[in-house]
């Protein structure tokens, strides 16, 4: 073999080896690039997932906070309303308690009407009735008793008899009317009437106290 042929063959061997080496490196570099690319993609997913999770938690916290504030403020509002309603009834109680002292003549008319109202409720259970009242009202009832009996006669043609129970009841005013045998009675004391108003008129009281427009709101509209 000529020297030049040998050199050419050696060069060929070298070239093939170099090409293969280059190919191995290129392949490794491409694989490395892919590994990094996949890692970056995975990292992006991790970050995205972390952010999404954190944001979900943050929004959940915010919603809980909002719900808690709303609940607290609603409870505060309910308490304020209840307090005002109670205050209104307490104030009304005081006025009713003092009313007979300040309006004696007018109060007699109130008692007269209360007796007529009570009679309407239980008049079908007899002709003889007993009226119970507090010490002050017993005196006033005595003054209107005959008038009540006459009014009933005038209205229904029935002659009834009402007697006053000697023992005064503990009440701020009003009456309890009972049949003579005490089997049927109608409680028309102010305590009972207040309680009834509390139950039956509560919605109306709420409306009166808390609905409507304030002056500045009226001006705005």
């Amino acid at each position: 073999m000529a020297n030049s042929e040998l050199e050419a063959l050696k060069q060929e061997i070298y070239n093939l080896a170099r090409k293969e080496a280059e190919s191995i490196i290129k392949e490794a570099e491409a694989k490395a690039k892919l590994i990094i690319q996949q890692a970056k993609q995975r990292a992006e997913e991790i970050i995205k997932s972390k952010i999404e999770h954190a944001l979900r938690e943050a929004r959940r916290d915010v919603n809980l906070r909002i719900a808690s504030i709303k609940m607290k403020k609603r409870a505060e509002l309910i308490k304020i309303k209840e307090d005002y309603v109670k205050k209104a009834f307490d104030e009304a109680y005081k006025i009713i308690q003092e009313y007979p002292l300040k309006n004696n003549e007018e109060y007699k008319k109130v008692l007269f009407n209360l007796m007529l109202d009570s009679l309407k409720e239980i008049i079908n259970y007899g002709d003889e009735f007993i009226v119970f009242a507090n010490e002050r009202d017993i005196i006033l009832i005595r003054e209107v008793l005959t008038e009540v009996e006459d009014k009933v006669f005038e209205m229904s043609g029935r002659r009834i008899h009402i007697s006053i129970h000697d023992k005064p009841i503990a009440s701020i005013g009003g009456i309890i009317l009972s049949t003579k045998d005490n089997k049927v009675f109608f409680n028309n004391t102010f305590e009972a009437r207040l309680q009834y108003v509390k139950e039956a008129y509560l919605h109306k009281i709420y409306e009166m106290l808390f609905e409507g427009k304030l002056n500045d709101e009226k001006r705005r509209n």
Partner: protein
């Protein structure tokens, strides 16, 4: 001529050995390249896992909602104040109404 041929073969074998060595070096280098890439990939993932970027996002999100919360609270407080003012305004009439119903009402 036969001697020369033997020398040629030896020389070629030496060249082949060199070639194999070159390829072996390339394979070694390739392994290193991949190992380095794997290490870097692991670091990228580990950094992502350790990242506290989510805290920054939470701060921004909460700041965004803080204003909303403030507005809700303010609006509810305004309703309370409004109801309180109405109650003060209507209180006397309501008491008068209760007294009237208790004293004169047909219950």
């Amino acid at each position: 001529m036969a001697e020369l041929a033997e020398i040629d073969i030896l020389s070629l074998m030496e060249e082949e050995r060199k070639a194999e060595s070159l390829i072996a070096e390339a394979r070694q280098r390739a392994k290193e390249i991949i190992k380095k890439a794997e290490d870097e990939a692991n670091k990228i993932i580990s950094d992502a896992e350790k990242s506290d970027i989510d805290i920054k996002y939470v701060k921004i999100e909460k700041a965004k909602y803080a204003k909303k919360i403030e507005l809700i609270e303010k609006s509810l407080q305004e309703e309370i104040d409004r109801v309180t003012r109405l109650a003060e305004l209507n209180f006397e009439n309501t008491v008068k109404y209760i007294v009237k119903v208790v004293l004169y009402g047909k219950l």
